[in-house]
């Protein structure tokens, strides 16, 4: 079939092709014909595109049509060769980030799907340009035991960020109790979860699945435009081991035809530190990386928290904008009785630490979808503020 993209991928991806071929006996390019938008549709059911997409009969390829209504079941899209096992289908590429948003100790499985023959365009400092029809797939799960990543997990929700003709949209699927499939939920949900924490203690949480409006509370850019966050050079520039040994993700994505325009040597691309890996950067660099991925999606000059005047973007260099001796705006109880966002050398006098240490809905930051305190990042922020020189006037 003409127009088929190269089918090379990271090791996991390659192994899945083999797996898929062995099991199904046919997952080659000929099956793309089963997709309604790819031409050569066996049945002349063009009018019922939506129904076809959500009930694909022939083949095993991904079935995603950006013009169709959302499917009720996640399995309909066939992003996974094995959904419960989170094994991606052919063309669905797993990836990881240098530093990730904290989500109440959930584990995240991330994947990119691009329409056949299409690629992302590299950008040094912005989100990669992704073609219409792209899907970012992110499954949130709880390992039964955080100390044992291979010891099984409870799948909670899979979020899709889908690139439609009129922009990106979020769709959220909640996994059923049997863990066999996930169902579309627009209004959010609560899912009880339990896991053994790193300290060996069992923890429980009434996990909150966001409603579909809330996708936009983080995934938003200037002009009220929904956009991805993680698909940026500095977040992706790292090794990923899909089972066949580590390989740089920018390199792997380029080699498989998913990315164009990236520097030949990943060392020439920006790279964010891993916030909890001291070997990856200084306390300052890792703190800024943590603030970048956890806060700057709102706290930027055009984001939802622009009204606060606090800008935690990676490129912000003005200490006042970063919160140093900055008085709070409309923080209400969020101040914790403290006068400034950051008081150099004084984490216990800084509003920033108060808010990331709180679990109260009107106080905690990030305010959305965080019910627990991430003890490890609190420690890093405290180190960061403690090391700052100078001070602020005592407030009247």
């Amino acid at each position: 079939m003409s127009g088929a993209r190269p089918r090379r991928g990271p090791p996991l991806h390659r192994s899945l092709i083999i797996l898929c071929g062995a099991l199904a006996g046919a997952c080659g390019d000929d099956l793309i014909a089963a997709a309604p938008d790819a031409g050569g549709t066996p049945d002349a059911a063009v009018d019922a595109a939506s129904a076809d997409v959500c009930n694909p009969s022939a083949g095993t390829d991904v079935s995603f049509d950006p013009a169709a209504e959302p499917c009720q079941l996640l399995s309909s899209y066939r992003f996974f060769a094995d959904g419960p096992g989170q094994l991606p289908n052919q063309g669905v590429v797993p990836y990881d980030l240098n530093s990730a948003l904290f989500s109440d100790y959930a584990t995240k499985h991330r994947f990119i799907w691009l329409p056949p023959g299409e690629a992302m365009t590299y950008s040094e400092s912005d989100v990669f340009d992704m073609p219409v029809g792209s899907v970012i797939v992110k499954t949130f799960s709880y390992l039964h035991d955080l100390r044992d990543p291979q010891g099984g997990e409870q799948l909670v929700e899979t979020r899709l960020l889908v690139h439609l003709a009129d922009g990106w949209k979020g769709r959220i699927y909640v996994w059923n109790q049997e863990q066999t499939d996930a169902e579309l939920r627009v209004a959010g949900a609560r899912v009880p979860v339990e896991w053994v924490h790193t300290d060996g203690e069992t923890r429980q949480l009434n996990y909150l699945v966001p409603n579909s409006n809330q996708c936009k509370e983080c995934h938003i850019a200037a002009g009220d435009v929904v956009r991805p966050i993680g698909i940026q050079a500095r977040h992706l520039n790292r090794d990923f081991d899909g089972g066949g040994g580590p390989e740089n993700q920018l390199t792997a994505l380029t080699e498989m035809g998913y990315l164009t325009g990236a520097p030949a040597d990943p060392a020439d691309a920006p790279r964010a530190p891993v916030w909890d890996d001291p070997d990856s950067g200084t306390v300052d660099a890792r703190s800024r990386a943590w603030l970048d991925i956890n806060c700057s999606h709102c706290h930027n000059p055009v984001g939802p928290a622009r009204t606060s005047g606090l800008d935690l973007s990676i490129g912000q260099t003005d200490p006042g904008k970063l919160g140093v001796c900055k008085t709070p705006i409309a923080a209400g109880p969020g101040t914790g009785g403290r006068s400034y966002d950051i008081v150099p050398g004084q984490p216990d006098d800084s509003i920033l630490t108060f808010r990331i240490e709180s679990v109260e809905p009107e106080v905690r930051m990030p305010e959305l979808l965080r019910q627990l305190v991430q003890d490890e990042s609190v420690a890093l922020m405290r180190d960061w503020i403690t090391a700052m020189k100078g001070g602020c006037s005592p407030s009247g």
């Binding site: 627009v186 209004a187 959010g188 009434n206 909150l208 409603n211 579909s212 409006n213 809330q214 936009k216 509370e217 009220d224 000059p301 939802p304 622009r306 009204t307 005047g309 200490p319 006042g320 140093v324 001796c325 900055k326 008085t327 709070p328 705006i329 409309a330 923080a331 209400g332 109880p333 969020g334 101040t335 914790g336 009785g337 403290r338 006068s339 400034y340 509003i351 109260e360 809905p361 009107e362 305010e367 959305l368 979808l369 019910q371 602020c392 006037s393 005592p394 407030s395 009247g396």
Partner: protein, 452 residues
């Protein structure tokens, strides 16, 4: 002036606890076919569909689903009853009206809310909320961010328990909005400001009752606001016009505050320390802080025990300023035709202690009705420290109100420089002659796309 909806009793009786659509096709957003007789139809004349809700076993899902599925032009009619939520709601569809059957009939209860920094977060244009009560949200009651043509009418937001800083910060909270109308609404118990219009353009706040909040009404970094016919009582501070530093919208101006009752705002300050309003002393009537082009007239201001009306600079808050373009001084303010009664006789808080010291020093009976801190932009003042007439703080025909100029001068951005002056370096005077002047009246605020 106020638009009203008629709710026939029969209608409330036939609805089951579920989501119903009254005639129209929700998906296409077309006009409800049955809406020709607006006298007998609860949804009135609307452009879109009418979505009806009643309390159910799962209000969270039902109401949030309705808010997500709504199409521009739709009315979501929430029938009488108490709806219970544990997570904040959000609306991101333009042109939606959320209408109840009365602020004491249709009640959105967030008691025990565990997630969401607001009861309802609106990120859409052309939003109307009407005849609904919102109770006990964990954070702000209703926040509208970045919306155009926003109307609150007959809404009540209230924290029904004690006045505590565990109450949410703001009741009705449009921020970075344009063409905002807040009328005939009630806000009680907010731990910051009851009605807070922030960083917005063109707002009319009228006919509201704000009581038992820390700040009753606060207009902050906003241009063109009319605040009238409101009653502000038993708050810590009644009506505040502030410009604050460090904001995306760095300035505000042209605010008219008139025909309000600003009565006995002597409530305890239960704001969390650190917030700007936490520094407002109990007993504060009206304050202009770092404000420009404010006209305060025809108000009744009585029984506010610390200070009935004042004009101050940001330096008087003794807080560092880290914003290079921020102007911390007030100018071009005109008090006229206000009526004062009592007040100033029991100054509270830190600023009250300063005022009490001045009262003692000058052997006054009480803090005078109008207090000006006297700290003006050094680039604008004459050799005596007064503003030129066109920028002055002007007083005229205020029913014999007495006056105090604190004689505060501090042009530093550092609180550590200004605090010693506040506590020991004031040069107070009661002579109002430098301030006897008038300005041209400010124009009436006209909202673009919202009929008044």
């Amino acid at each position: 002036m106020r638009r009203s909806f008629a709710f026939p009793l029969a209608f409330a009786l036939v609805l089951s606890p579920s989501v119903l659509a009254c005639g129209g096709d929700d998906d296409d957003g077309n006009t409800d076919d049955g809406n020709t007789d607006d006298g007998g139809n609860p949804c009135g004349e609307i452009d879109g569909a009418c979505i009806e809700l009643s309390p159910s076993d799962d209000d969270q899902t039902a109401v949030q689903t309705a808010l997500i599925d709504a199409q521009p032009g739709d009315v979501i009619l929430m029938h009488a009853g108490t709806y219970v939520f544990d997570t904040g709601l959000s609306l991101d569809v333009d042109g939606v009206s959320l209408v109840g059957e009365g602020d004491d009939q249709t009640i959105l209860s967030f008691l025990g809310q565990t997630d969401g920094a607001e009861g309802l977060l609106v990120t859409a244009d052309d939003f109307t909320m009407e005849d609904i009560g919102v109770e006990d949200t964990a954070g702000d009651a209703v926040k509208v961010e970045g919306g155009a043509r926003i109307v609150f009418r007959g809404v009540r937001t209230e924290w029904t328990g004690d006045q505590t800083d565990a109450n949410g910060a703001y009741g009705l909270y449009p921020v970075q909005c344009s063409d905002v109308l807040i009328e005939d609404s009630i806000v009680r118990g907010a731990s910051d400001a009851g009605i807070y219009v922030g960083q917005s353009e063109r707002a009319v706040v009228r006919g509201n009752t704000v009581e038992g909040n820390v700040a009753g009404i606060e207009i902050e970094n906003t241009f063109d606001a009319d605040v009238y016919d409101n009653t502000a009582t038993n708050n810590t501070g009644g009506i505040l016009v502030f410009n604050l530093p460090g904001l995306d919208v760095p300035d505000g101006g042209r605010t008219r505050v008139y025909n309000n009752m600003i009565i006995e705002n002597n409530g305890e300050n239960f704001a969390t320390p650190g917030s700007t309003v936490s520094q407002v002393p109990p007993g504060t009537g009206f304050v202009a802080l770092a404000a420009h082009d404010v006209e305060i007239f025809d108000n009744t201001i009585s029984g506010n025990v610390t200070s009935q009306a004042s004009v101050i600079s940001f330096q008087l808050t003794a807080t560092d300023i880290t914003d290079d373009i921020y102007v911390p001084y007030s100018d071009t303010i005109w008090f006229h035709d206000n009526t004062f009664d009592g007040g100033g006789d029991d100054p509270q808080g830190l600023l009250g202690a300063v005022l009490a010291g001045v009262v003692d020093l000058l052997s006054l009976d009480a803090v005078p009705d109008i207090v000006v801190d006297g700290n003006f932009d050094p680039a604008l003042v004459d050799v005596d420290g007064f503003l030129p007439p066109e920028l002055n703080i002007c007083l005229s025909n205020n029913d014999g109100a007495d006056f105090l100029d604190l004689g505060f001068v501090c042009d530093s951005d550092l609180a550590s420089d200004c605090l010693p002056i506040i506590t020991g370096g004031l040069a107070p005077a009661t002579d109002d002659k430098p301030y006897l002047c008038e300005h041209d009246p400010l124009p009436e605020v006209v909202l673009d796309g919202v009929p008044l």
